[in-house]
Each structure stands twice: as structure tokens, then as C-alpha cells.
Symmetry: C2
Amino acid sequence: MKNAVFKALSDPTRRKILDLLKERDLTAGNISSHFNMTRPSISQHLKILKHAELVHDMKKGQFVVYSLNTTVFQEFISWAMHFIGKKPSGNMSSP
Amino acid sequence: MKNAVFKALSDPTRRKILDLLKERDLTAGNISSHFNMTRPSISQHLKILKHAELVHDMKKGQFVVYSLNTTVFQEFISWAMHFIGKKPSGNMSSP
DNA sequence: TCGTTATTTAGCTATTTAACTAAATAATAA
DNA sequence: TTATTATTTAGTTAAATAGCTAAATAACGA
């Protein structure tokens, strides 16, 4: 697990952004509107989430649509499972 | 999930401490010896991990023995599983 | 008791972080 | 082309963080 992922998740605003993206893909501006914070600030947070590969971005005309990248979450769960002595398999059938 | 947990996990030294405690319980001094860092610095890290309830500590004479607290890791895994649309159950039998 | 060992607390400093404003870039619409 | 909208980049600042040294606390052994 990259340090960038843990750093990205350590901020409440960024975790709330991930919560929003869990429901549906959103443009940068749309994400901003959910916060009492300037657009440049949110843009910075999105940059950090992108660098950690927790989100994807796609240019759609003059908009940038952000979406969740679940791949890193998978790795993340595997990492955490080591600590409770669990196999991080997707289809667990044995303890 | 408490912010303190994410903050605690965002530092590489603290994650390495958790890695060490995953193998066996250790005293504060023993933990320190694994790092190229002063004992007070490690003590501070342990305090942060304790506050996040990621570790337990127990006084044993003049030593303090630290051990992993897996409870928070469980919650942590549940949190992460929301993002990949998985039920955080312990005994998964269905996808 | 006195000295040693284990650990933490207090106080200091350099670095990182998260916010802001102003300006730049890019695409659309008139 | 010019104005407007969407988003990012640059530069600044206050607060948080992680490291250090020195000192305090606590338990042990001679």
C-alpha cells in the first residue's frame, strides 16, 4: 500500500468526497457545491485523491467528471485484513 | 470511523509499529529498537496509536507492553467495503 | 536509600498541510 | 471574436505534524 493512499484518506473532506462519489459520478463543480469551501481547495483535494488513485477523472467538454476507483479500496481491505489474521480473498469459503 | 484512526494510520512509522505488533506483543523500548529514531518520538507515536484505539498497553513492572487491538481494524474493513459495494460480514457465503 | 533502567512529558523547531485569493487555461455560447 | 463558465495552477499564510533534547516519573536492584 502506497503512503499516498493513507495520506489521502486522512482528511475528512476527502473522505466525504469519496462518500459522494460512492453514490454517483460527479463533476468537480458539483462536488464543490457540497462543501463550504472554495473551488480551488476542492480541486486540490481531488488532485490528491487522483494521485492516490482513489478516483478517476474524465474530461467531458468543459467539465471534469470524477468517479470512484474501487481497485485501491480492494488493496486497502487486503492490507487491513492482515492485521486480523484474515485471508483477503473475494469469495471466502474457509475461515 | 473516527478521524483519529485515519490520522494514526497516515504515518509510515506508525504503520510499521502495527506491523511489528502483528507478530507479537512488544515493550515500548523493544519497539524503539526497530527504528532509527529517539525513544520519545516513538513514545509519541504509541500515544497516537493508543488514542486511535489501534493498540492496547499494559504496564508490566517497569515496562509497558503494547499489543494490537483488532477491533478497530474490523470497523475499518467495514468502512472500506462500503466503497466496493460489499457486505462487511465475517462469514461471507454469497458474493 | 541510591543509582540505574524504562518510559513519558514538556518545550522547541523544521516541515507539511489545508485553506485562501488571484490569475491562468480550456471549452462553450453569443 | 468576445464574454461566460468550469476548472486548475500559483503563491501566500496559519495550523498541524513529526522530529529532537532535556527533564520528569516510575519501578527495579544493590
